[in-house]
């Protein structure tokens, strides 16, 4: 059989170095080059952003730029604190609302849902990710803001004794932005949580059930502890998305460079300031440099968050691959 194949192939290449060595090596180097290109690109990214932002860093110093509460382009003053605070507040709101819902839905889909509805539910949650950012923004401006305002005002008045509440509710505000960000990070947090939960060994779940645990007790004792690292990673990836999300936030946060006293006050985020002001700033070198500096802060922030998040997610996924025999792959 084998001999026949060789004869029919008609290639007398026994013992000689194959003539096709060169394309082989070429392909290898080409692909390696492309892969290395990614690393070079990210490095180049950082360097170019830094060079363009340098005038501002030279004037204020990196620390002062980050911790000064004064973003007044008309007076040529650039302190990014209100932007950073706004970014962190909206991202926190997004996590507080989005992560429990996402993890809850992931648990339901992987552990409780009848097999028949599992796939449809997954697809529906994924569809949330198919809606573009600008469409969420549009929806936020014309539906969410007017519809939620009375409820927000009531909430703000009733609980005005709590910190960060009280006063008049602005139309566009931190909370609305956080809520839309929550919707936008939901699919990715849910998807990664599902992946992580799928790696919980069946033996552990069955053991819990065999010992008489109810479904919920099984989830609490077998699924959650096992996938905790992965869920934290998923939440952090969501945090990264929430921090970097631009267009929807620009449309619903009010674009006021201040640190509002209430979560129903207007604010600004790092990404929003770039999208909103860059057009007019292109002509003014300092303003442009300040916006690029804001972009650099954003870049570094998301880079660090993603680094840590991926570490958690990869670790909990590797736990799975280690327990499975890898077969004969070299």
């Amino acid at each position: 059989m084998e001999a026949a194949t060789i004869q029919h192939g008609g290639r007398p290449d026994t013992g000689r170095p194959s003539p096709s060595r060169l394309p082989d090596r070429l392909l290898r180097w080409m692909l390696t080059g492309i892969a290395a290109g990614v690393l070079v690109l990210i490095g180049y990214f950082f360097i170019r952003l830094y060079i363009e932002a340098r005038p501002v860093f030279a004037r204020y110093g990196v620390v002062n730029f980050i911790f000064t509460d004064a973003w007044i382009p008309s007076k040529d003053q650039f302190g990014a604190l209100p932007l950073i605070v706004g970014t962190l507040i909206t991202a926190t709101i997004a996590l507080v609302i989005g992560v429990p819902v996402a993890v809850g839905s992931a648990l339901y889909v992987t552990e409780l849902a009848p097999p028949r509805v599992r796939q449809p539910l997954i697809i529906l949650v994924e569809l949330l990710a198919a809606v573009p950012s600008v469409v969420y923004g549009l929806w936020g401006v014309f539906v969410l803001i007017p519809k939620l305002k009375p409820a927000e005002q009531w909430f703000s008045d009733t609980f005005s004794f709590l910190p960060f509440l009280g006063g008049t509710v602005a139309g566009p505000n931190y909370f609305i932005a956080g809520l839309i960000l929550a919707i936008m990070i939901l699919p990715i947090v849910a998807a990664i949580s599902r992946e992580v939960m799928a790696t919980v060994p069946v033996e552990q779940k069955e053991a819990a059930l065999a010992l008489g645990a109810t479904r919920w007790e099984m989830i609490r004792m077998a699924v959650l502890p096992y996938s905790r690292a992965g869920i934290s990673g998923a939440a952090m990836l969501g945090l990264g998305r929430a921090i970097g999300e631009t267009i929807a936030a620009t449309l619903v946060i009010g674009n006021a460079p201040q640190i509002a006293k209430s979560i129903f006050g207007q604010g600004y985020t790092l990404a929003a300031v770039i999208a909103n002001e860059f057009g007019e700033a292109a002509a003014t070198p300092t303003h442009r440099a300040a916006l690029i500096a804001a972009g650099l802060v954003l870049f570094v922030l998301t880079l660090v968050i993603n680094f840590v998040a991926r570490y958690f997610v990869n670790r909990s996924q590797r736990a799975m691959t280690r327990s499975v025999p890898t077969g004969m792959a070299g």
Binding site: D13, V38, R48, G104, V125, T214, W216, L237, E245, L251
Partner: protein, 287 residues
Amino acid sequence: MSAIAPVASRRRRTDKTMRGVLLAGTLLALVPLVFVVYYLLKQGLGALSWSFFTSDPSGRFLGDPGGVRSAIVGTLLIVGLASLIAVPLGIGIALYLVEYGKASRFANVVRYFVDVMTGVPSIVFGLFIYIVLVLSGFGGNFAGWKGSVALALLMLPVVSRSAEVVLNLVPDSLRESALALGSPRWRVVARIVLPTAMPGLVTGSLLAIARGAGETAPLLFTAFAVNATTWNVGQQMNSLPIQIFNDVRQAQSNIVERAWGAALTLVLMILALTLLARLIQRRSRIA
């Protein structure tokens, strides 16, 4: 063997409550989807008409705002060109990782950075391309192809990650048989690995393209915006997301209506791509 003890009622109640809570979470997650789709149809359908698709935005604030032809043409061209850049490069990276790099240190670093790159905000890609291609005056000022490059950077890690997963599914026995029969590595890749993985690669790429098509931020100061239709990617170009973004911030109700119509158009385009991707995926599972 003793009889199985009945579950204490308190534990059973907790179980029931928590099941209910998890179900509620799942339904809650779908509420925004329902509302977004409802309002898109309610506000958007009315805006759609023949002239909506065949006329350019007039740029006038009073009177007829015009349609979105230039935006549709621009989105198709910009996203098409971005796909031409991102798909081959993304699959190339995945091929390297699966066929050559495997678990080597360098490959792991690349894999890690590709993952990290998926988290870089889209506006940062826009800024970067602005600095490198627009500010430097390379090939003129704003241009459609510069927007494509920014989008491609965004799509690249998504294509690469999904391609890697698919390429890993190609059985090693196939590769080994081909190698054992004496075919060189490049031919194994071109004739065995890629064809086997093709449906999955197409699905992953289409999903990445769908994701890129809705992005606004990378185009803001790379492709910029104009009203007139242009087929030349060397010129400034309009696009659906930018058109929506600009229209949302106008007060005139007919301009806002155009925004809803454009949003519905964009979502339908993305949905069509997503559905196509899923269809191809289903096909491959049967084969």
